[in-house]
Every structure is written in structure tokens, then in C-alpha cells.
């Protein structure tokens, strides 16, 4: 009986801890990490995952999710005049709603339209097409 209570307590504690963590992430503006394809050139359709949110019932089955934004690390982007190419060519993409260049951190924030995103291959293509070196995606989104 004692073992059963202990087990229930541990399960409850772990569920509460998980929920608290997701709330903290939401407060910090951290969303799901983008699931960027490392191969191929087609547009990414999103990934499947569970949605945990207080007040909402968990949907039966899996729900499609896409990243709302991506932070791209770019090497060699020292000149604002030249970085225009990155901004312009990302804005040409139908999936992109906004682009913010940060020269201090040498990174570009890409905001996607709802339910849309770009593959990592597409992002890399834009960066290298503008003449810069692609250094990957930053973890926190």
C-alpha cells in the first residue's frame, strides 16, 4: 500500500514538474524547436507532436506543428549594406512573414507564416546565395 502511494506521488510530481517547465518556456517565449530537414530541398510540412496546455483537452492522435520562427547563424555578415541580400531573398519566400537581421550576433531571425516553415536546406541556400557562410540554426526558437 505504501509502495502504491509512493508511486502515485512520484507520478504526480513528475507530471506537475513537466507542466511547470512548459509554462516557464512559454513565459520565456520558447516554442517548439523546428524540425528542419537536413536533406532534400522540398518545403517542410512540420512535425508531429503532443500539445500540452492547461485548459485544453489533449487531442486524440497526433497534431501537426510547424516552427513559428528560426534563428540562423551567418558567418561573414559584417556589412549592413551586404546583408540586404539575406533580408531581401528571405522575404521573397512565400513562407516567410518577417526577417530581422542582427549584425551584433551575426544572426538572422526568420518569422514564418502560420503553419508554414522552410527546410534547413532552403535556409542554407538563401544564406549561401547571398554570399555568406551558413553556420546552422540556433537552438532556442
Amino acid at each position: 500500500m505504501k509502495m502504491l502511494f509512493t508511486l502515485i506521488f512520484v507520478l504526480n510530481w513528475s507530471l506537475l514538474a513537466k507542466e511547470s517547465d512548459s509554462h516557464q518556456k512559454a513565459e520565456l517565449g520558447i516554442t517548439e524547436k523546428p524540425q528542419m530537414s537536413h536533406q532534400g530541398h522540398g518545403e517542410h510540412k512540420g512535425h508531429k507532436g503532443h500539445k500540452h496546455k492547461e485548459g485544453h483537452k489533449m487531442k486524440a492522435g497526433l497534431e501537426k506543428m510547424t516552427p513559428s520562427q528560426a534563428v540562423v547563424k551567418v558567418q561573414g555578415m559584417v556589412c549592413a549594406f551586404c546583408a540586404q541580400g539575406i533580408e531581401k531573398n528571405f522575404k521573397k519566400k512565400n513562407e516567410v512573414s518577417a526577417v530581422e537581421v542582427d549584425l551584433d550576433k551575426m544572426q538572422v531571425l526568420i518569422k514564418f507564416k502560420k503553419g508554414q516553415s522552410l527546410t534547413e536546406a532552403s535556409i542554407k541556400e538563401v544564406v549561401t546565395g547571398a554570399g555568406f557562410q551558413y553556420k546552422g540554426l540556433k537552438d532556442a526558437q
Binding site: 558567418q75 559584417v78 531581401k88 542582427d102 554570399g131
Partner: protein, 210 residues
């Protein structure tokens, strides 16, 4: 179109300060103007390493009008994308026509440029030469160094102080050397420079990318 290029080039024109190849699918309008040499160019970049351009050079001469027109292929030969800097080597190869007075001759344009910059310092050197079928018409050597008094963010107005040493060797006119301090200001896709040389010559340059 030719008239448009010619009219613009009379009041503006240049070389030795700009990137002859820009990002993919970009259009560039660049002008350099000085009382001894003017250069105007339009570029279209198919790739970040390859562009085509049209050029108009105007070299004032007391004896007759001297000008040259070229179409060119522009190449980014090498780029270094460093953690806090970028370096480039460019080459421009053009064919066209040089006109001096009533004489019009086939001509070529060649240019080699090296530049390196970070967000605070800038260095550039370039060498351009115009050859007609008879002779070397122009040799233009440029060395520039610049410093940004403050490091600006992407959407800020950027300012640079630039010192340019330039040597022009024009056929039948001889060499002309000059040092010019420039103030460069750029915002987004528009760049403008103005300077007055130690010989009292006013020069201005501009670039716009679309």
C-alpha cells in the same frame, strides 16, 4: 537606355569603392564622380559570384572629349567569410569602345580588386586598366582605408571616415595622384560618399542596390 546612362554619367560616375558583384538577383547602380575621372556602372548579379555590367567612363581632356563604354562580366574570385570579417577578390573583364575626339576604337576594361572589412575597419585596393587597340588609355590605382566612428546596428545610419589614395595615368596626360578624405554614409540599400582631395577636387560616389 544609352542616353540615360550617358546623361547620368555626366553628373556622376567611379571605381574602386564598390563591390562589382552583389547578392543573387540584385541590381546595382554605382557612380563615382571627380573632375579628372568619372565612372558610372549598372550591374546585375546572377549569382553572388557572377554579375554582368555596363560601364561609362568619362575622362575630361582639354583637347577633346574622351570617354569609354563597356559591357562587362564581373566575378567574385574569392571570398573569406570570417567570424568577424569578410574579404573579397573581384575581377571585371569588359569589352567596348573608347572614343577620343573623332577617333573611336575597340577597347577592353580589366579590373582587379581586393577588399577586407569588419564592422569597424575597412581596406580596399583596386587596379583598373582601359586598353584600346592602339594603346593603354587609362591606368587607375586606388588604395583606401576606413574606420567607423561607431559600430552601427543593421537599421541604423552607418558612417565611415575613409582616406583614399588614387593614381590615374591617362594616355597623353600623364599621371595624376591625389589623396581624398571621404565621409561615407549609408542606410539600408543606399550609400553615399563625399570628399575633397588635398588638391582641392571634390569627389562623390554613390551606390544603390535593389
Amino acid at each position: 537606355m544609352y542616353k540615360f546612362i550617358f546623361i547620368i554619367s555626366l553628373c556622376a560616375a567611379g571605381s574602386g569603392w564598390a563591390h562589382p558583384v552583389s547578392f543573387e538577383d540584385s541590381k546595382g547602380v554605382m557612380g563615382y564622380h571627380s573632375p579628372v575621372l568619372s565612372h558610372f556602372q549598372l550591374n546585375y548579379s546572377f549569382r553572388h559570384w557572377f554579375a554582368v555590367g555596363v560601364h561609362h567612363f568619362d575622362i575630361p581632356d582639354t583637347r577633346a572629349n574622351r570617354f569609354s563604354n563597356f559591357v562587362s562580366t564581373n566575378f567574385l574570385l574569392k571570398r573569406w567569410n570570417g567570424p568577424s570579417y569578410q574579404g573579397n577578390i573581384y575581377a571585371v573583364l569588359g569589352v567596348g569602345q573608347s572614343k577620343f575626339g573623332d577617333t573611336s576604337l575597340g577597347a577592353t576594361l580589366t579590373k582587379l580588386q581586393f577588399d577586407i572589412e569588419d564592422r569597424q575597419y575597412y581596406f580596399l585596393t583596386s587596379y583598373s586598366q582601359i586598353n584600346s587597340v592602339r594603346e593603354v588609355e587609362l591606368q587607375d590605382l586606388v588604395v583606401r582605408a576606413g574606420v567607423a566612428p561607431y559600430v552601427a546596428s543593421y537599421k541604423d545610419i552607418h558612417s565611415w571616415l575613409i582616406l583614399e589614395w588614387r593614381s590615374n595615368n591617362v594616355q597623353q596626360q600623364g599621371a595624376f595622384e591625389d589623396v581624398t578624405p571621404f565621409l561615407r554614409i549609408f542606410y539600408k540599400n543606399l550609400l553615399f560618399e563625399i570628399g575633397q582631395s588635398f588638391n582641392g577636387l571634390t569627389r562623390f560616389n554613390y551606390i544603390a542596390h535593389f
